[in-house]
Symmetry: C2
């Protein structure tokens, strides 16, 4: 069943201890849709500029990714420049050029408006709300990602949209600044009072924590000997997690746990190369082999 995803499509300039790359395809919607489309058809809502050409479109071809909602506008695409130190957990932003993203107004094609599942990627909360308003009917579930910039600077609109959200995906710092609590079980109680019944706390190299009314779950990141570029790991996790849930068609605790493992595995591939490169070349065999290795690792008899 189709998963509608709104977010950014960008070019990234990246520097990590493994190297330096320019004009790499990035943005939350790119990472998310490449990951989610392994599990379920994805409909993308985003905006790009004239620099987004055949080479970029080709990345999404041959996959169940619908780009009817990808607007192309005069000007340049969103461009982000960032670097990571030896501690790959946090990016340092060097430059942000919003370009065409500054005037982004989501406009859902009619074929998108009945999507049963909706992911509101990390954009301005008022635009996330606008996407929900354009739906013909309330999706079966709505998931949302956000960041401290909106938690601090657009709290009102964010709280408005949170009332409609079923699944909130944030990192630890975001979870804490949203609720004012440090303990994650207390964070979860406050999140539930804001709207979302399911909370996913993304913890980078420590994996993730899943909090649901039926119980919680935690999974470590898949241990890797080399991480080339952590950019987009969270969006790739979200894509795998929500893509798996959309394909499964339910939110049972067991399904949520297996979805979390699927997202974790997808994210582990994403960070092995710059940008979306590793996901583009990911084979079914490689995915299945890593799933088996991860399950064997986590199994304790």
């Amino acid at each position: 069943m189709s998963l509608l995803a709104v977010g950014s499509v960008a070019f990234d300039d990246l520097e990590t201890p493994s190297g330096k790359r320019e004009n790499v395809l990035g943005g939350s919607a790119s990472h998310f849709s490449l990951s989610a489309s392994r599990f379920t058809p994805v409909q993308v809502v985003a905006v790009v500029g004239e620099d987004f050409g055949p080479e970029q479109y080709r990345v999404f071809e041959g996959r169940p990714i619908d780009l009817a909602g990808l607007q192309r506008r005069p000007g340049l695409s969103f461009h982000w420049k960032g670097e990571y130190g030896v501690d790959l957990n946090e990016a340092r932003t060097l430059e942000t050029h919003l370009n065409v993203f500054a005037g982004f107004k989501p406009d859902l094609p009619p074929s998108y408006r009945t999507a049963p599942y909706l992911f509101l990627g990390n954009i301005e909360p008022s635009l996330q709300l606008e996407v929900v308003r354009q739906m013909d009917k309330r999706p079966i579930w709505i998931a949302l990602d956000t960041m401290n910039f909106w938690i601090d600077g657009a709290r009102g609109p964010l709280l408005d949209v949170l009332k409609m959200i079923d699944i909130l995906l944030v990192n630890e710092a975001e979870a804490r600044s949203l609720t004012g609590e440090r303990n994650l079980l207390k964070v979860y109680q406050k999140v539930q009072a804001l709207g979302p019944s399911i909370l996913v706390v993304k913890r980078g190299e420590y994996g993730m924590l899943l909090l649901t009314p039926g119980g919680c779950f935690a999974a470590p990141a898949f241990p890797l000997e080399e991480v080339q570029d952590p950019t987009g790991a969270g969006d790739t996790f979200a894509g795998g997690f929500l893509g798996y849930l959309a394909a499964a068609g339910n939110l049972d605790l067991g399904t949520l746990k297996r979805a979390a493992l699927a997202g974790t595995i997808m994210a582990s591939f994403a960070v092995e190369a710059f940008g979306t490169e590793r996901l583009q070349g990911l084979t079914e065999d490689a995915y299945q082999a890593r799933c088996a290795a991860f399950e064997a690792m986590l199994h304790f008899g």
Copy 2:
């Protein structure tokens, strides 16, 4: 089978966001032995002063904890004063009074010298080495804990004792400063070259990572709504982990994983109250109930 443990026995003055306590029983050997003795008999090697009296001895009574190797010397016991901020991951040391611990020379009673399992708690590496030398025969396995103070300041003796170690337990910062690597799989390769074949990386609220020749394992901490005092959590984990292993009598990967879960559960109780209070009152029912809850949480079908 008996597990011999050398370490410190201390009085702690503690301040955490949950409160303030003075003269609480602490030290690595206290936390370790109370935890390990749930699984296997423990023989303690440590030193205390004249301030260690009947009240303190009583804490260890009625458990399979042998205090024949607990020296009592003129003077005061090791005394540590520390505080924690809202982030409970790191203690700030306010005062350290070594007292009788400054002149500590391990002296193993004859009945200790054939112990099949040995834990060298975090003390000066030359003293850890001295304990190994006093054994009549090489134990089946030897485990070791250390800290950056020795990694930086007594590297030579530490490397000497590491050659004889099977299981190394350290936190992430210690693992990295010991090996000069950041990536934990690379850390593990270097640790193996130094001697230990099994590495346990303690990660506080993120749980632990277990690296063995047969595969790896990671477990999150047990989610708690309130942590009163994290002092001794690592020693309590080590006690549960190694106590379980000593009782099991093998180092199979499955056993190592279940031992890691046992240590994790014991540590989750330890932090619920100040000092050793929660472990002293821990019932079999409470332990089993939390094990069942943790296994249900980690199970993903």
